[in-house]
Point group: C3
Chain length 256, copies 3
């Protein structure tokens, strides 16, 4: 059994995710399709980039992950496919795979028309390009069947925190359903940085001098979330709303 | 493998879609169920009618499509089943299938109690009638097993644009997740109408004298959406909110 | 084929439900996973308790139901597994199973680490404990393999209506997508109470002296909803908004 996962910003009101499933199952009826989310914030490539890194490792190797946040669909932006750690990834070459791609990643352009719908719209490549390519990939085609190698994939340059001698400058990159504010500062970066030192973590007017273990400990907590990134939470409430936090707000970690 | 798709206005908060899946899988465990949307605007039969036409062709022939937007559940409105283009459709006879039904469509009443739940509520026919009928249909029963032929299905009469000599009067029928305003004017109607002529498309105070190809071209675009209907979009924003557009707002296409 | 259902308050924006599916399918690829809802109101254990009772009977016996509304994840609250009516249930021991558990229910603690993820976070037991336990249970392990018997499960004490000689004091426990206000007064309780008597049902300033059969009968209706509980509805509108009703608002049934 092959699994195809879907991450998009198409929302759940429109029939787009359902249509992609129809296209996939028409090509390979034996595939299992798993929705990760269709509620990535509209056109927020960055949010998509962080999410992909969060979920893919929980699937079996061989799983095909389709990720579409694609504000410039219909432009010259390229569709790409690549593999990493035994997983396959398909989506637009617009930076959504920034956190997965490194120098050794062998990326292929999707250009072979025989794996696409006959008529390709300028507005819905999820249906016309990415879904049929995922379905064909699940049938066993090699990556090189889809097109030429891409050596210059688009990567987001401002996605990582800035690390100086005694301070990390990070930011809030997304909110979860409970209003927890999730940053781009990974626990491994944080722990190396503060190891054995006194530190102060600041977001707006709120500061922390220790890391909490779970949400229920205090009213306002600062902890490592389930994806491994530093986050802020408000017990039985929304940190986002209580503290009036916005995406992009600065988060600093200072050591003495 | 048989596929059953579900389109409803039940929402995703309530367990209704999940309950329908339980009912279906209890009768036919081998079926694959695909959610199209459960977020059709509450009780908006018209929106459902346009959506059905948009997705069904992307599934294999033989697929069973259940579509439920059913404000008068529990009344005398009839449950029906029919086939078109090799696909099967099940739902209330309230106009939701207006865009699929023509003179040649052979429609059957759902009245055979042996294909329904033993106790039929007056509030949830998705569970008590439509889900078990879909599951039984997937087992291979013929349409005529469900009931008598229906010769007078309910059709919405105001769903098509009004076409005069030099103007089409259409309207906004729904919005997608991005706030794009989708009209009831199909590209084929539009293209035939404006062929070789100068034209002006107007919605509120906004006018267009050309059709765009994709969303990223300009701030405000007028283009054929993925379902084939004329729509209006706002790049990296919501046309609905920026232009204060409502469902039912008039859209005109004038030629000189 | 085994079915695993998921009920959570994780929402559909975050990848949590998708990650749980990845974990489950990595352990047992042959299972069918059905989403009931991931939109239980955040941290509302009570709402979860009523929902579980509503859907589980519509699945085949042998189905495994995972229910997670877990505000104190990471604390000492216990994870449990039990069976009832041939169905299996997995979730936190915080009262979410109040309406299913009785004296005869044999409940087991989930403590055997070999059925969990290697690293158990303090924030996401859906992924690290409940999903892998559900997957292992679907492979045929006996409940006693997971841990010791629990004899003192947590139950919500204020979940049932208070019944006096001539009045039932109930309350609104949740709203459905249409804004219908659903109470904790079950039809069987109600019918026994009012049998052959004149009665008056009151919520806020609205009263009813009869029970309606379906939503379309009048503008404001009082009827037995699809889950068997007394509810209030507003035809083609939202009772919640029209009548300014809140969760927890008192509902009384008085007989003469």
């Amino acid at each position: 059994m092959k699994i195809i996962t879907l991450l998009t910003d198409f929302g759940l009101k429109d029939p787009h995710a359902g249509i992609m499933k129809g296209v996939i199952l028409s090509i390979n009826p034996d595939v299992t399709i798993v929705d990760i989310s269709h509620e990535v914030e509209a056109q927020d490539i960055r949010e998509g980039a962080f999410l992909i890194k969060e979920y893919y490792t929980y699937f079996e190797k061989g799983t095909i992950h389709v990720a579409i946040v694609d504000p410039t669909v219909g432009s010259e932006r390229r569709p790409i496919v690549f593999s990493k750690d035994g997983h396959f990834f398909i989506g637009p070459d617009n930076g959504i795979f920034t956190l997965l791609i490194d120098e050794d990643t062998e990326i292929y352009l999707i250009e072979n028309k025989k794996f696409m719908m006959r008529n390709i719209s300028t507005t819905f490549h999820g249906r016309d390009v990415f879904a049929p390519v995922a379905a064909h990939l699940s049938l066993g085609f090699h990556l090189s069947a889809f097109g030429e190698v891409v050596t210059d994939p688009v990567c987001l340059t401002d996605i990582f925190p800035k690390i100086e001698t005694d301070v990390i400058y990070g930011e809030v990159v997304r909110f979860d359903r409970f209003g927890n504010a999730i940053t781009n500062i990974h626990a491994s970066t944080l722990n190396t940085f503060i190891k054995g030192k006194k530190f102060r973590i600041t977001i707006g007017k709120t500061s922390f001098e220790s890391i909490d273990k779970s949400y229920y400990e205090k009213e306002v907590t600062c902890l490592t979330g389930s994806a491994g990134y530093l986050e802020f939470a408000y017990y039985r409430g929304s940190f986002r709303e209580e503290k009036k936090v916005w995406k992009g707000d600065e988060v600093t970690v200072r050591v003495e």
